[in-house]
C-alpha cells in the first residue's frame, strides 16, 4: 500500500488498506460462480474468528480453545436481534421486501452479535486471562463442550438443539439485476471481514497493542513498566471475541440459522489449526489458514468419493480424515515451522534481503 501512496501513513493508511481489500474481494465475487461465492462467504466468516484468535495468541500468548463458542454467541446475538427487529417491522416476520428494513435488520443483528460475544468475552477474559498458563484454555474448552447443554438449559431463549432461525436477507431490489444471492451474501461477509481485520490491525499498532506484546514478552518487566497486565489481556480477549462474534453473525446470516451442533469442539480446534498454520499474530496468515481449513476438507471429501470406497468406510472417513490431517499438521507446523506460513515467508524475505550485494542473479 505504501508503495502506491507513500505519503499516507499510520491510521489512514490502514483504513485505506482495509477498504482496498474489501473492494478487491467484492471484485472477485463477480468472477466466481454461486457455490464458490458461498464458500468465499464461509471463508470470510472463518477468517473473522481465526484473525481474532491468531492476534490473541500471537500478541498475548493466551490460547482459547472455545472460539467456536464465541462465534456461536455472535450467531445467537445476530439471530435474536435481527428477529427482534423483524418482528417490530410492518408486515410481520420472514420475508425482506423493504430494502430499508433489510439493512436495519442486518445492522441490528451485527450489533447484537457484537454485544453478546463481547459480554461473553469479557466474562471469560476476566475469569481466565488474569492468570498465566493453561487456565484460560481449560475454561474455554469447558465452554465449548458445554454449549449444547447451555442452549438446552436456556431452551426458551436459545431454542435448544434446534437453535434459532434468522431472517432471510435477499438482494436489495436496486442490485437485483447485477448480483446473485450468494454474491450479495459474500459482499456482506467480505465487509465484515474487512472491518474485523482493520480493527485488529489498528489494535496491534496502538499503545494497547504495544502493552499486550510487552506482557507476552515478559510479564513481570511489563508490570514494572506500568502495564496493567491483567486488564491488557482481558482487552485482547474481548477484541478477539468480538471479531469471532462477527464471524458467527455472518455465518448465521448466510445460513439463516444458528444451532449448537454447528459450533462444536471440533470446530474450535479447526480455528486453532487455521491460526497456527497461517502463522500466529499474522492477519494474512489467518486468511490463508481459513482458506485451508474450509477448502481442504472439501478436497479430501472429493478425493474419497472419487475413490469409490465401500459405504461404511466412506462414512467413517468422512470428517475424520480431515481432522486427522489437521491434527498432524498442527503438530508438525508447531514443531518445525513455529511461525506458520507467514513466518516461513518472512524468514525467506529476510534471508533474501541479507544476501551480499555482489551476488548476481
Amino acid at each position: 500500500m505504501n508503495r502506491v501512496l507513500p505519503q499516507v501513513t499510520g491510521t489512514p493508511r490502514i483504513l485505506l488498506g482495509g477498504l482496498a481489500l474489501a473492494f478487491l474481494g467484492i471484485a472477485v465475487t463477480f468472477v466466481l460462480d454461486p457455490y464458490r461465492n458461498y464458500q468465499l462467504a464461509i471463508v470470510a466468516a472463518y477468517f473473522c474468528a481465526t484473525a481474532g484468535l491468531s492476534v490473541l495468541v500471537g500478541l498475548t500468548g493466551q490460547l482459547s480453545l472455545g472460539h467456536a463458542a464465541l462465534m456461536a454467541a455472535g450467531g445467537y446475538g445476530y439471530a435474536l436481534a435481527a428477529s427482534l427487529v423483524d418482528g417490530m417491522a410492518d408486515g410481520g416476520p420472514g420475508t425482506s421486501g423493504d430494502e430499508g428494513t433489510s439493512v436495519v435488520r442486518v445492522l441490528a443483528g451485527l450489533a447484537g452479535a457484537v454485544v453478546v460475544s463481547g459480554v461473553l468475552g469479557l466474562l471469560l477474559g476476566l475469569a481466565g486471562a488474569r492468570l498465566r498458563g493453561p487456565y484460560l484454555a481449560g475454561l474455554t474448552l469447558a465452554l465449548v463442550i458445554a454449549l449444547p447443554a447451555v442452549t438446552a438449559v436456556l431452551r426458551g431463549v436459545l431454542g435448544g438443539d434446534q437453535g434459532l432461525r434468522a431472517p432471510y436477507e435477499d438482494v436489495p431490489p436496486a442490485l437485483e439485476r447485477l448480483v446473485a444471492l450468494e454474491q450479495w451474501h459474500a459482499w456482506i461477509a467480505i465487509l465484515a471481514a474487512s472491518v474485523a481485520a482493520t480493527g485488529l490491525v489498528l489494535l496491534r499498532r496502538s499503545r494497547a497493542g504495544l502493552q499486550m506484546r510487552a506482557v507476552h514478552g515478559d510479564e513481570t518487566a511489563a508490570r514494572l513498566s506500568g502495564v496493567p497486565a491483567g486488564r491488557v489481556k482481558v482487552v485482547a480477549f474481548v477484541a478477539s471475541a468480538v471479531s469471532a462474534g462477527l464471524g458467527g453473525a455472518v455465518l448465521c446470516l448466510v445460513t439463516q440459522s444458528v444451532s449448537p451442533g454447528a459450533y462444536s469442539l471440533a470446530f474450535s480446534l479447526l480455528l486453532v489449526v487455521a491460526a497456527v498454520v497461517g502463522g500466529l499474530g499474522s492477519l494474512g496468515g489467518a486468511a490463508v489458514g481459513s482458506a485451508v481449513v474450509v477448502l481442504l476438507p472439501w478436497l479430501i471429501e472429493s478425493v474419497t468419493t472419487a475413490l469409490d470406497l465401500p459405504a461404511d468406510l466412506q462414512q467413517r472417513l468422512s470428517g475424520n480424515l480431515a481432522v486427522l490431517v489437521f491434527g498432524a499438521l498442527l503438530v508438525v507446523v508447531t514443531l518445525a515451522w513455529p511461525g506458520g506460513a507467514a513466518g516461513a515467508l518472512a524468514a525467506r524475505r529476510a534471508a533474501r534481503s541479507q544476501q551480499p550485494p555482489l551476488t548476481e542473479r
Binding site: 499503545r207 494497547a208 504495544l210 502493552q211 506484546r213 510487552a214 507476552h216 514478552g217 515478559d218 513481570t220 518487566a221 511489563a222 508490570r223 514494572l224 513498566s225 506500568g226 502495564v227 496493567p228 497486565a229
Partner: protein, 289 residues
C-alpha cells in the same frame, strides 16, 4: 557514622541551607519470609533525596528480595516501605506513577520487539510523570524514547530487534527503559554484571549523570570497586540482616563486613562471596532472592 548489627535506620541529615525533602525511600524493619525461610529480617535503611546508595552483600543475603519488596513483587511479613514520605504502592504497576523505575537482573527485555518499542512501553500508559519529581508528562512517547536512547548511545540500534543485540547493548536498553520515565528513584539490580571495563566506566558515568539530575539511586551490586567509587553510602546485608551501613570507606574497613565476605567462620566455607581483598571483578551470577 557507622552502625554494626543494628536495625536503627541511619538517616542522613539535611544539607544545611536546603529545604528538607522526605527521604526518597524509607525501609523500616522490613521482614520477608518465604514459607519457613526468612529472607529479610528487620531490615532498615533510607535513601535520601538525590543520594546514591549501594546495597551489597554475599550471595543469598537478600538484596534482590529488598528490591522485590519495594516493587510490590513480594509481600512483606512485617515492616513498612515508604516512597517520598508516602506508603509504597503494593503493586508493581503503580511504580511508574510513583516515580520509581527498576532494572531486573535477568533484564526482562520484551522479546519480539525492537529497541525503540521496548523503551516506549513504560510511556504507553501515560502514567509516567504524574507523580515523579521530574514530572512533565512526555508529550510524544516516541520522541522521549529516542531522546533517552540517544543519551545512552543507542541511536543506531533503535529499530533492531532486541533479541539480536549483544549482552552489553541489551543492558543499555534495559537501563534506557528504566530512565525513560524520568524517575525520582532508580533501582538498579546488578547493572555491572557481565560487563567489561569500558562498559562499566560508561555505566558509572551514566549513573553519575542521572544522580546529578537529582534522581536517587539504589543499586545492588557485587562489583565492589564500581560501587565504592559511586555510592554516597553503602548498606551491607548478610543473611537477611543489615550488618553495616555508612560511607564507603568506613564500610570497607569494618571487620564484620570482611568476615561476611571472606567467610572466616566454618559455616560459610566455600561460598561465593567476594570482598575488598579479592580482585574486584564482578561475578554476574544470579543472586538467590
Amino acid at each position: 557514622m557507622m552502625t554494626t548489627r543494628s536495625s536503627a535506620p541511619p538517616v542522613p541529615g539535611p544539607t544545611p541551607g536546603t529545604p528538607t525533602r522526605p527521604p526518597c525511600l524509607e525501609v523500616d524493619r522490613l521482614t520477608v519470609a518465604f514459607g519457613g525461610l526468612t529472607a529479610l529480617d528487620d531490615v532498615s535503611f533510607t535513601v535520601g533525596a538525590g543520594e546514591t546508595v549501594a546495597l551489597i552483600g554475599p550471595n543469598g543475603a537478600g538484596k534482590t528480595t529488598v528490591f522485590n519488596a519495594v516493587c510490590g513483587l513480594v509481600r512483606p511479613r512485617g515492616g513498612s516501605i515508604r516512597l517520598g514520605g508516602r506508603p509504597a504502592p503494593g503493586s508493581p504497576t503503580r511504580l511508574v506513577a510513583a516515580g520509581v523505575a527498576r532494572t531486573l537482573q535477568g533484564l526482562g527485555l520484551f522479546s519480539g520487539m525492537t529497541v525503540l518499542e521496548n523503551v516506549m512501553v513504560p510511556l504507553a500508559t501515560g502514567a509516567a510523570g504524574t507523580r515523579g519529581t521530574h514530572g512533565d508528562t512526555p508529550e510524544d512517547p516516541e520522541a522521549a524514547a529516542r531522546a533517552t536512547l540517544d543519551r545512552l548511545g543507542l541511536t543506531s540500534l533503535v529499530h533492531r530487534p532486541v533479541d539480536a543485540l549483544s549482552y552489553p547493548d541489551r543492558k543499555q536498553v534495559a537501563l534506557a527503559r528504566a530512565l525513560v520515565t524520568r524517575p525520582s528513584l532508580l533501582l538498579l539490580d546488578e547493572p555491572a554484571g557481565g560487563l567489561g571495563h569500558d562498559d562499566i566506566d560508561r555505566l558509572a558515568q551514566t549513573v553519575r549523570d542521572v544522580a546529578a539530575d537529582g534522581c536517587s539511586v539504589l543499586l545492588v551490586e557485587h562489583h565492589v570497586d564500581f560501587v565504592m567509587g559511586l555510592a554516597d553510602r553503602v548498606v551491607v546485608l548478610d543473611f537477611g540482616r543489615v550488618i553495616a551501613c555508612g560511607p564507603p570507606d568506613e564500610v570497607r574497613a569494618d571487620p564484620a563486613v570482611e568476615t561476611a565476605y571472606l567467610g572466616v567462620s566454618a559455616s560459610r566455607e566455600g561460598r561465593d562471596g567476594l570482598g575488598p581483598a579479592v580482585d574486584g571483578q564482578s561475578i554476574s551470577a544470579e543472586a538467590a532472592s
